[in-house]
Symmetry: C2
Subunit: 339 residues, 2 copies
DNA sequence: CTGAAAGCGCTTACAG
DNA sequence: CTGAAAGCGCTTACAG
């Protein structure tokens, strides 16, 4: 590799100063049109590579936004990430991604890295057990935070998520309307706001329907496809088995349906099943999955917008914005009532 | 937020020089034990945040490794990423992730960003159509590249991937052994090494079995769950319909099986199906998916190891390492032969 | 419209 | 074992 090309290399080659070159490359109107063109040509010819570390050290703006969620492979986050990426791209911000897998230490080390890199902002779905102080730390060090999907009490920052309690209510109301009186809820944990709110929505819907909740109907824990699969075995052993299962997420529901099939039962025929999120796969699954659309692309877009607005100088807000979910009725909630 | 704490803040507070503080924080034996401890305490108390941009500008080492693949949500990459992450974590390297979605412009802009940030290395699954020069550019600018999953002719860098031709042969041989003589191949594209090699493996297996290939058996294109689903409709219209389908990937196979079910056929009973990758979901699917394990965690681990070795000064190698895949027989390849 | 000079916060020879 | 000083490659007032 040749000697490294820097601003001064270009400046020297044209007999200009680095100041002029720097301004020209960033399209400053202070530099004469002709000069600007000559400079840009030279930069291209010399294979100049802009050194962002140097620039960022000087300006204390890095153009980096961190995004940290528990599982980037979950299609639910996929959609959020896609819309976050769209917004950030538009503002020429680089986004760097982290998977914390609900591991607090991992989340902390990522936040540390962002601080060390002088990142401009953080979009975070906080790991289970995140204390408010873990969110105030970056805020106090000039790293603005926007929460998505989950929120943290007392964090004092803006958050965007679906109205989980209302959404779960939609699913359970639907099952009740179809005639079900014994309805289980599969998956989720009280350790996250999502889990708590969806469970609250489930319990409230039972109460609205005048159904008395039975503890064995609530199978806590599963949050991915595999544990949804395992939960089917547990479900099938419930005394006076429920005729319907409202699942914490589509992934859990899809795994749960695999589990039912494995046990020789037909989801949507022998057991009614609902999911949550309306991921792409829901519509093509066997049977098509009845679910609740969670507005994930709106969550992603608005979180990114809000963060960019703060970078542009808007003051911080301490508020949680709830996106209203919608029921998507599909065959998995059908059920053959015994005559 | 208070005034920013930097090395000199600590130095001043203790009446030392920044040189000593810098050395102490990085555990240099040059600094006396006692002094080191005093410095570390002070750093903690003052809430010091290490400025990596400044350090990196000085040392021209950033501690950043870029990882860029076409689809981070594909579970196949999930496993690769997990093992890459493990290796890099161990060396305290930060990894930043990019989804190029097979968009060359996007891939280029990510490589640019890495160059600007002074990244130490890049692990890349090259986008469709990546010219060798796009890989030599970073190499020539001190950004070593290691390829995964796909390779590029003439790129001159180290690559790790499964032996796709051999692996697809395993699947098709298995179908042949079960008695199938009309076998389709669903998905993949000749635009990637993976697609070309798996197709070659399919064709070679047919030839080994003395089966004459018919063009209508080859449904090119699908590379995700949704297009696998759509391909089922196409498949079902093939004249003298095949009794088995070897799919390009597990995602394609799982979508394809959904598509068969939607059309009222039973995958694994009416049509034998195989996948490729052996993702987690394969074992719990309905029916369990017969597939080829692709050694993805080995690919990820070895690619990361190789990159780290280069960062440690080892010379570049121009070689493609093939990991040997293994067949995983499961029920989706069963088939009810008409008596 | 262009240039000379200072400074962002580190690390690294070098000196003592 | 510790300190003074230069320099990484930019950008930004300031001067002309």
């Amino acid at each position: 590799m040749a000697q490294k090309v820097k601003l001064s290399t270009i400046a020297d080659s044209l007999g200009l100063s680095t100041a002029t070159v720097s301004l020209a490359l960033r399209d400053s109107p202070l530099v004469a049109e002709v000069t600007r063109e000559r400079i840009k040509c030279a930069a291209r010819d010399l294979g100049y590579i802009y050194n962002r570390r140097a620039a960022s050290l000087r300006t204390s703006r890095s153009g980096i936004v961190g995004v940290c969620v528990h599982d980037i492979m979950n299609p639910f986050f996929g959609e959020i990430l896609k819309s976050v990426e769209n917004e950030l791209d538009r503002q020429r911000q680089t986004f760097i991604l982290c998977n914390h897998h609900d591991d607090l230490a991992k989340q902390r080390s990522f936040v540390d890295t962002l601080l060390q890199l002088g990142a401009d902002g953080l979009i975070l779905s906080p790991a289970i057990g995140t204390p408010a102080s873990d969110i105030r730390l970056p805020e106090e060090n000039d790293l603005p935070v926007t929460l998505i999907a989950r929120t943290v009490e007392g964090s004092g920052v803006l958050g965007f998520r679906g109205d989980d309690s209302y959404g779960m209510g939609l699913a359970v109301d639907h099952l009740v309307a179809l005639g079900h009186r014994r309805i289980a809820m599969i998956g989720g944990t009280a350790l996250t706001s999502t889990g708590r709110d969806r469970e609250a929505g489930y319990l409230a819907a039972l109460e609205r329907a005048g159904i008395e909740f039975r503890p064995e109907w609530r199978i806590e824990g599963p949050r991915n496809r595999h544990s949804g699969f395992d939960a089917a075995a547990t479900f099938l052993q419930i005394d006076n088995r429920p005729t319907a299962a409202a699942c914490f997420s589509d992934l859990v529901a899809l795994g749960f349906m695999y589990g039912l099939s494995r046990a020789g039962l037909r989801p949507g025929v022998d057991i009614a099943v609902t999911g949550y999120d309306d991921i792409d796969e829901a519509a093509i699954a066997t049977p098509p999955l009845c679910t609740v659309s969670n507005g994930q692309s709106e969550v992603g877009r608005r979180a990114a917008e809000a963060l960019l607005a703060r970078l542009a100088g808007q003051p911080a807000a301490d508020e949680t914005i709830l996106i209203t979910p919608e029921l998507r009725v599909r065959q998995s909630s059908d059920y053959n009532w015994p005559d």
